[in-house]
Symmetry: C2
Subunit: 203 residues, 2 copies
């Protein structure tokens, strides 16, 4: 199969169950790979370089930005995170689709640099499930929960320019929706016009 | 699931293996139904009214055209064929997607009346397979084969405005592509914007 892979950017509010859905997608389709980010933060126990993250120094990260080696980058709590371009483009050329689990700002950066990227927004079928999940964790104060809910509302409001909405009322069903989106995108006329060329093969 | 079904128009040149692929789609997904055409031709042995076709008289067919009850219609060898609108719209409202196996002219009529219809063109991954299949049947003269190939070339050339191209190098893989297209179309932002509305459900 010589078809190019797709860039799949997956966003969604905290509490939408995004990471579970993404891991189900990976488990069931070997032609879909996960984008490994570069970060300046120290590895946590069990984290492996090149698997969980590419662990790099601050000067190295700055030079990656400077040399245009990152598709997107952002800073959180004093650490830098970014998506190295080369492994992504390499995977796509080999026909692998690459999934990004990133924040909405990073998603906007990727869409700006790679207009062909497909933006998927994951939501629970009922928004009240987000509140339920956040409360279910039992770790956050009421103030923190209200803050996260407010952020989730803002993210949903800004997601109207995304290409697809995936419902996570069930992680397996949501994973099937994502796999279907990737396959359907490959079937689009723009990607397969050459199959309508009847001149070459008819003797 | 309150989501509306989709109108899926499937075309493709003779010899592309279309009917096999469509029957695989039906077998594996009960939410996808086949559109039953009306015809003025007499039932063949084993054909049942309302299952294979709606068998109607010529005057009845003319009145269906006159009353706007058909989504598309055409005449072949003195018999009229057409797609009754009511059962299609009824299925869609119930969340069933309706698949049409029709000629390119009928497809154009449906797209004109229902712009939301999704047009899929089925081709073998290599056009020379069409020739192989036509010859493999062993029933047609060389002249007839050349005529069919010429028609297949014309149909392919006109298919560039279709939405998707499905490759039938393997009927099961092709059926999976069609199911994925239907599911992905349901996930499009235009159909799911209401899920981003966070006002209703947060207390």
């Amino acid at each position: 199969m010589s078809e190019r892979g797709k860039l799949i950017v997956i966003c969604g509010p905290s509490g939408a169950g995004k990471s579970t859905v993404i891991s189900r997608v990976m488990q069931t389709d070997p032609s879909i790979v996960f984008s490994v980010s570069a970060t300046t933060r120290a590895p946590r126990e069990g984290e492996r370089d090149g698997v969980n993250y590419f662990f790099v120094s601050h000067p190295k990260f700055q030079s990656m930005i400077h040399n245009g080696e990152l598709l997107e980058h952002a800073e959180y709590v004093g650490n830098c995170y970014g998506t190295p371009k080369a492994p992504v483009l390499d995977s796509i050329e080999k026909g692998k689709s690459v999934v990004f689990d990133i924040e909405v700002q990073g998603a906007a950066q990727i869409k700006a640099r790679c207009p062909e990227a497909i933006l998927i927004f994951i939501v629970p079928s009922d928004f009240s499930q987000i509140e339920k999940r956040l409360r279910g964790r039992g770790t956050d104060s009421e103030e923190k929960i209200q803050g996260r809910l407010e952020q989730a509302r803002r993210e949903c409001a800004r997601a109207k320019n995304y290409d697809y909405v995936v419902l996570n009322d069930d992680p397996d069903r949501a994973a099937e929706e994502i796999r279907s989106i990737i396959l359907a995108e490959k079937c689009k006329m723009a990607n397969r016009k050459h199959y309508l060329n009847t001149e070459v093969s008819v003797s």
